[in-house]
């Protein structure tokens, strides 16, 4: 079980959190069909450092972004 560094509460066990998918996906205000489809469905799924959103749902309730290495599962600072 991962220890996840919540920026508000510190290291807390994984079961207190909910993963909310890739971070940095911008919700377009005006978009053609292709751009909107990309917003809805296209994600990067990298092998390596992955920016992802988490919510400390059973803690402070805040959303935040972490960078996790998808091979080692280590949290690292932003590239």
């Amino acid at each position: 079980m991962l220890l996840i560094p919540c920026p508000h509460c510190g290291d807390r066990p994984e079961i207190e959190f909910r993963n909310c998918g890739e971070a940095g996906i911008v919700r377009p205000t005006a978009a053609d069909d292709a751009a909107w489809t990309a917003f809805l469905y296209l994600r990067s799924n990298p092998r390596g450092l992955h920016a992802e959103r988490w919510r400390h749902v059973h803690g402070c309730g805040r959303f935040f972004t972490l960078h996790r290495h998808t091979v080692s599962d280590r949290f690292e600072s932003a590239p």
């Binding site: 919700r27 205000t29 978009a31 909107w36 917003f39 809805l40 959103r53 599962d73």
Partner: protein, 967 residues
Amino acid sequence: MSRLPTGGRIDRSRPLQFSFDGRQLEGFAGDTLASALLANGVTVVGRGTKYHRPRGILTAGPEEPNALVEIDRGGGRREPNTRATMQPLFDGLVARSQNRFPSLRFDAAALAGLAAPLLPAGFYYKTFLSPRGWHHLWEPVLRRLAGLGRAPDAPDPDRYANRYAHCDVLVVGAGPAGLAAALAAAETGERVILCDEQAEPGGWLLSDPQESIDGQPAWTWLDDAVATLRAHPRVRVLTSTTAFHYGLQNFLALAEILPEGSRLRERLWQIRAKRVVLATGAIERKLLFHGNDRPGAMFASAARTWLNRYAVLPGRRAVLAASHDSGWQSVFQLQDAGAEIAAIVDWRAAPPPPLLEEAARRGIEVLAGHGVTALPDGMLAMPRAADGTLIRNRTRTLFCDLVLMAGGWTPTVHLFSQSRGRLRWDDAADAFLPGEPAQNVVCIGACRGTDDLAACIAEGQAAGAGTSLPPRVQRAGGLAVRAAVTGADGRSFVDPQNDVTADDIRLAVREGFRSIEHVKRYTTTGMATDQGKIANMVGLAVVADTLERAIPEVGITTFRGPYTPVSFGTLAGRHRGVLFEPIRTPPLHDWAAAQGAVFEPVGLWQRARYFPRPGEDMQAAVARECRAVRGAAGIFDASTLGKIEVVGPDATTFLERIYVNALANLAPGRCRYALLLREDGCIADDGIIGRLAADRFHVTTTTGGAASVLHMMEDYLQTEWPDLRVWLTSTTEHWGVIAVQGPRSGEVIAPLVEGIDLAALPPMGVACCTVAGIGARLFSVGFTGERGFEINVPAGHAPAVWQAVLQAGAPHGITPYGTEAMHVLRAERGYIIVGQETDGTVTPDDVGLGRLIGKKKADFIGKRSLDRPDMRTTGRRQLVGLLPIDATVPEEGAQLVIAPGSATPLGHITSAYASPTLGRPIALGLLQSGRVRIGTSVFALGSTGTAAPVKVVSPMFTQPAGEGENG
């Protein structure tokens, strides 16, 4: 009896009675089942899975592949596949051998051994891939032959628990290195947990009392070390506790087996350690020769354990088959204990001179450069040729009842590998050793390839203190495992539990399998319950030898947890029965239970489904409840609805962006049925939005959607529109909700309502008032198509208000109804249930609710997606009503087709009920271009394959008597 008169770590003052296959036997406290069986001269303990050859006890530890027995503690406590080497003996233990038919002594299937060529590697794959029908012939036979133990047939009555713990240092393995590490770490002031799978700490020291440490006899040092650790305030010593999983961030899982008679049977420990010291030791390797699976063939190290720890002489006349120095000492000790030594057969042409000199001094014959093959009552020793084969014209017959195998050592790197540390091949150690770690972990002692006792202690001291390790020390040596398997007899068993021979592996390689992962799966080498502890290295050597490649070029299979088998009870802990998951009950649950309600689970909630009267079945009860609501008044516990208080100056703006509806024009005191979409334009949830004030809304969600809707709202509020001044609070459990529905609902509640003019409360209105003296939010809404109210009161007051409403409604015939009647009533009116009529692909227009969308709004979640071509296309599946032509209620989930023989589904039935109001079955469904098809007929194709005609109609089966929220 083979028990020696003195010695060992058993308690001779405490004899214990036990039985094996019905035989009454005796052992001592401190015995394992295996040592007690050997002490009683029991040498055959099971049979192999494939050939059913008789098998004896091979090892003295957790790697045991043969001595798997069923332990029966009575009352459902029947546990298969218990390793006899790890089962502490207790008084009254009942053990049975497994995998034999009809009995251990005579096994009919052992004849399969005679037919060995019929069952080569990949037999199962080939059999089950062969033409259809063929496996029907084989399967029953194979199932009988290949079974391993009997699953228990009664619920486990024992208690299990789990604990979390944190420590500075977790030391796995309480052998000399681990003990030294724990002592040193405790000295530095760190919190230490030391665990060991054995019932007693000491590791290999328990088997080797002749050694000395710091000038003391080994057992004196051991007893002092254990006493010091047990008394230390910062040290926890866990025995009979196996670290079986090494997860991320030094999070390890341990299975503790408590002593027989404890309140708990097993306990799962989940430990987070700042650093981990692995002192997990090493496991001996078997040698490949014909007959190496016979009862009486065992690891040389195991023999030393039986002798020294349990005072058991495992045989009278022994042969050592060795390719490594380490076995010689075992033979010398057996001789000292009174066993005859028939010969030492060493694969190597030139064993080390000191060993040869000691053997000569003892008068033990040494056959160097020889190998062995089995005879019915002994072994045949023959010289090994340069290619490893045996030269059969120069044989020596060696009568014996014990064959000790010493094939070198495989460090127990399982946990290190699970921690994602890299393994590296080391030629000198002839093994994979721990390499670069991925976490804060260090390996010491035999797990690191060190075999010198003083060096093990020095490594432990360094690891415990957190300083760098001294260089690895290796004193014993042997023939490389790859060279030792060269030319080995094809009938030699590599994996004795899965009955894989050297020839099976060679065949797999000849058939084209190159990857060790593929060979493993094709031959099942190392896939038995010992997880390859016995077979993997030797099997790998055979593959390397056959491919003529070096072992590191072939690679190694992945180590995965658990290190040893873990019972489901340990993993489940207390999460069984009513504690399996939380149960949520609404405030009126106790009242409903007292009325004899039948409940159904809805998410974690228990909801009253219907209230049967004596003699009523579900259909009769539901029909009566429905008629009461349509004809007079019904009362319903709607407390499980999700509720969110949305407050703030920007609350209207926020809700307009979240829901599809226009809400800016919703006046305080009014409410509106609203739809929530996902960004892809499909319906996510629905509910009622009530406006209490300009900046305050009472929003309801579906019962199942409460948490996810709040999560979604928070997501947008925190990350998309952080500028909005809005606060969200879940109030689901704060409000008890009493729905009063039916034409007389107003009359029922009128005497109870104070503070407002009830007659002035319009349909789809909300007001703060008191009901039966309790402060309430009163909504004039319903989900039945009748005039109705939902009375929200603080949950603690709900039972009292419920009673008051019941009393006030009694003259009007008020009737409690459950979720089933609620479903029927809403379906008669064509109201959807999110998750039943919708499945994540359904838009508002699909279910006929396109009119709810606020046309002038610039944006809301999902708006852009509704403009995508696929969402606007014709031919989407639309909500329709369906009237079956015959009188049976169709199946929910039945496919809708245009004609009975059609294989093209046009949709499916989402809900189906017997409608008491209409006196006929009704159904809702999603049907391609459904609204155009109204008036036509389609067919409902059920799971039985029968197609029943249904008429397509409007989903509004009944016209509203009062006003529903969909209006």
